[in-house]
């Protein structure tokens, strides 16, 4: 059998406003509430609400045979509550079907795993509590921010009770001759590892509406045939997992409704389920479905799902990002020591990886993606506002 494993990332950062030097020390609101509200309502209308509606219909129609998973950040949930409570309700409705797995991650979609182990554990615990409060579930699959992963992160996650599976990117330099279709184990053989099949994932997430792509237009028929072909290589009866991991905003936001993305999704499950050797599952079930000795994979250096390089260069690839991120984690340490909960809450909102992503200066094809997602005019502006915000938080410490 080949199981299609869908995981959708649901995340919205709390964007900073244009914080100037003259705003420092005034105890003013550092966040652009107006912009954040506008973006969230727009994405809810274009993506979250219609896609949730579609998935709910598909789940009901296929009576348990169509399953998906979501990872929803704390900053997204907070903003649902503020700007679009109906979106949160519709996610709850999906979870209640029993066909939706909710994953665990850092509450603030942060890079804490790389910089501060204690803060990482705190943010994972905060997220876990939120999932329990909102959806009544305890996640047992972990996905780190931007699928950032390395061996030592698996050790950290293993220490947290209940996590048995981690998702990450199917990076060529790690896999080499191996296929991302098998379930693996981490280097210590203690945790189940699922790897994103980036080619087919990105066909939907990035190339779906690209008219310069030779395969355009991507039809359900064509896509399912490709999936079907993947099974031909496997002759020993081992179960395969096709991990289609992508931003949830792919549906209706990155790929607009006019591109036909909703039609594609509407007909995709039926076409998969028509074939006897294809099925759907969710990450936590793969461990028991893996009917073979799982090979262990070592990731000595961090990988991610971003850009061509699939490394950390989207967040810490230039001097501005490095200075900003190092200054941030040093300051967070002081803020935690002070113990003012409101100040800590604000500071944690700045740990969100997007703030550093906006400072990226890779002006190739990937730079365009960065630009598309940035609320600021330039990486330099993003840096200035962030550094000023850090100066402000530091002044509040005294």
């Amino acid at each position: 059998m080949l199981y299609v494993v869908f995981y959708f990332q649901v995340h919205q950062p709390v964007r900073l406003r244009h914080v100037g030097v003259l705003d420092v020390g005034k105890n003013s609101n550092l966040f652009d509430d107006k912009l954040n509200g506008e973006v969230l309502r727009k994405v809810a209308e274009k993506c979250y609400l219609p896609t949730n509606r579609l998935l709910l219909d598909l789940i009901k129609k296929h009576e348990g045979r169509f399953q998906v998973s979501f990872s929803i950040t704390g900053t997204a949930i907070e903003q649902f509550k503020l700007y679009s409570p109906e979106t949160l309700d519709s996610f709850k409705e999906l979870v209640d079907t029993g066909c939706v797995e909710i994953l665990g991650e850092t509450y603030y979609h942060s890079l804490a795993a790389l910089y501060d182990t204690n803060e990482f554990l705190d943010q994972v615990a905060l997220h876990r509590q939120l999932m329990k409060d909102e959806f009544g579930v305890q996640p047992c699959t972990f996905r780190n921010t931007e699928l950032i992963y390395q061996d030592r992160i698996s050790d950290l996650v293993y220490e947290i009770e209940g996590f048995t599976t981690i998702l990450t990117e199917g990076v060529d330099r790690i896999l080499q001759w191996r296929s991302p279709l098998f379930a693996y184990k981490n280097y210590a053989k203690r945790i189940n590892l699922l790897l994103k099949y980036y080619k087919l994932s990105d066909d939907i997430a990035f190339r779906f509406s690209n008219r310069d792509w030779p395969e355009y237009p991507l039809t359900v028929d064509k896509f399912v045939n490709w999936i079907d072909h993947l099974t031909l290589d496997e002759t020993q009866g081992r179960n395969l997992f096709l991990n289609l991991f992508m931003d949830y905003e792919t549906f209706g936001e990155h790929q607009w409704a006019e591109t036909g993305i909703f039609d594609f999704m509407m007909h995709f499950p039926a076409e998969v389920l028509k074939r006897e050797h294809l099925a759907f599952t969710t990450p936590s079930q793969t461990q028991s479905l893996a009917n073979y000795q799982q090979e262990s994979l070592s990731f000595p250096d961090p990988v991610s799902w971003a850009d061509e390089q699939r490394d950390l260069s989207a967040w810490v690839g230039n001097d501005m990002q490095t200075n900003a991120i190092e200054t941030y984690w040093e300051l967070l340490h002081k803020i935690k020591a002070k113990g003012d909960p409101e100040l800590l809450r604000i500071a944690r909102l700045l740990s969100t990886s997007d703030h550093f992503y906006y400072m990226c200066t890779k002006y190739f094809q990937d730079g365009d993606v960065h630009k598309y997602f940035s609320p600021y005019d330039s990486p330099d502006q993003a840096y200035i506002y962030f550094i000023n915000a850090l100066a402000d938080l530091e002044e509040r410490l005294h």
Binding site: V24, Y383, I387, A391
Partner: protein, 448 residues
């Protein structure tokens, strides 16, 4: 006494250093009873007949074209701003038409007004140099060509005793006016191309500057520093040069300005100005890096915009100056005041600063100042630290010392403030009037 004055900047048209200097000087000259017809790079063909002190703010306007003038007088304007828009006074002058060849214009002027030959070979050479160098496709050169082309109308239609031209942009106009009217010409050096470029600069501009100074009856320099440069770099006759230091008028109540409104708990050091090579912002960054090693809590602020801003921003990140080196971006007048109220130490690390009004303003706010020795302003104040712009170690040591000795810092600030309050534009205007009288009496003598 009536002066035909050409300048490229005057508030509200650009408010850089030249604008502020012209404003202060003109206001003080009006107070001395001198009448000024001011010509600016406006869209419409207008001049500003300034007679009363208050005219510097209201800018009474006359169109050269009588039909347009009639239309203009019938128009009622709610605000000065509205009127300025009508006559095309914008933040920066725009190009309204293209001129084919400057040489043709000057030939025409020459034959029209002086059927005789050039007075001598030297004069012809200066004209040739100027016209040959006022060429180029650049926007600014085109604007200067246009401004010069219009100058002939003001020169021939207005009535005046002498001509006063500020900086190279208006020198061709000044030369033209002198040629047409035969009236004496005073050129004013606020900055040379060497200052602006922080290096050799544009050769065409040097030649225009040189021609203007050679052609003029008197050259006014804003400092001893600039006068020396004019002599050593342009070989101008010292007998023609007069030094008139700029001044600075404190606006508002003196007591008010020294009241601090802090932004940061720790000491704040300020750079305020254009972030260009002339102003030495890169030296400021080097100083910051050194000071932060000793006093890591100090805040260094870089206020302003300019073509080096991005480079410095990235370098400050590369040096890992954390959130201790901050950029404000563009600040309006009110924000400049806010930043000055918050600052403890002001640094002007200019590589070459003919005068530099900004430190006087900082001192008026009671801020202890460190001023580049390569500046004119260092000639007029005593209660400030004067250091070579390249001596970043000494600058860093001085800042460290001021951080460690708040009482000294405070005393220096108060003394500086008292000193600056004594510097008045009326004194500068008195010197300008003296220069005017000199050229006029020489002119009258030569015509009898």
């Amino acid at each position: 006494m009536k002066v035909l004055m050409f300048t490229w900047e005057f508030p509200p048209l650009i408010s850089g250093g030249l604008a502020m200097a012209c404003y202060g000087m003109v206001k003080a000259l009006l107070a001395l009873g001198i009448k000024i017809d001011l010509v600016l790079p406006t869209r419409e063909l207008v001049y500003f007949p300034l007679r009363e002190v208050s005219d510097v703010d209201t800018l009474p306007t006359v169109f050269l074209d009588p039909v347009q003038q009639k239309e203009y007088t019938r128009h009622s304007f709610q605000t000065v701003q509205e009127r300025m828009e009508y006559i095309g006074v914008t933040d920066s002058p725009e190009t309204y038409y293209q001129l084919q060849d400057m040489r043709q214009l000057f030939e025409k002027v020459h034959t029209e007004f002086h059927s005789v030959e050039y007075e001598n070979m030297d004069e012809q050479e200066l004209w040739d140099t100027m016209t040959a160098n006022l060429v180029g496709e650049e926007d600014l050169i085109q604007k200067v060509q246009e401004f010069t082309h219009r100058a002939q109308r003001f020169a021939s239609e207005l009535d005046y005793n002498l001509i006063h031209a500020h900086d190279w942009l208006t020198y061709p106009s000044g030369m033209l006016a002198r040629k047409i009217s035969g009236k004496p010409l005073v050129v004013h050096i606020h900055a040379t191309e060497f200052d602006r470029a922080g290096g050799p600069g544009d050769d065409r501009i040097h030649k225009i500057e040189h021609s203007g100074m050679m052609y003029a009856d008197r050259v006014m320099a804003v400092s001893q520093y600039t006068a020396q440069m004019i002599v050593s770099r342009y070989r101008i006759d010292t007998g023609k040069i007069r030094i008139v230091h700029n001044a600075f008028t404190v606006e508002g109540d003196e007591e008010d300005l020294s009241v601090k409104k802090r932004i940061f708990k720790d000491v704040m050091v300020l750079f305020l100005g254009r972030i260009t090579i002339q102003k030495g912002p890169d030296y400021y960054l080097d100083v910051a890096e050194r000071v932060l090693k000793t006093h890591p809590n100090t805040r260094f602020i870089m206020a302003g915009t300019g073509d080096m801003a991005r480079k410095l921003l990235r370098r400050s990140a590369q040096l890992k100056l954390k959130n201790r080196f901050l950029f404000t971006g563009f600040l309006n007048r009110k924000q400049v005041e806010q930043i000055l109220r918050a600052a403890d130490i002001y640094v002007l690390p200019s590589v070459s600063e003919p005068f530099g009004i900004s430190p006087l303003e900082a001192m008026a706010f009671g801020i202890t100042s460190i001023i580049s020795k390569q500046s004119g302003v260092s000639e007029v104040v005593n209660h400030a630290f004067k250091i070579d712009y390249w001596d970043v170690d000494l600058m860093a040591d001085t800042i460290n010392h001021l951080i460690e000795n708040p009482e000294l810092r405070h005393k220096m600030g108060v003394d500086g403030m008292k000193e600056v309050n004594l510097i008045q534009w009326s004194e500068a205007a008195e010197k300008v009037r003296k220069v005017y009288s000199e050229v006029l009496s020489a002119f009258l003598k030569s015509n009898t």
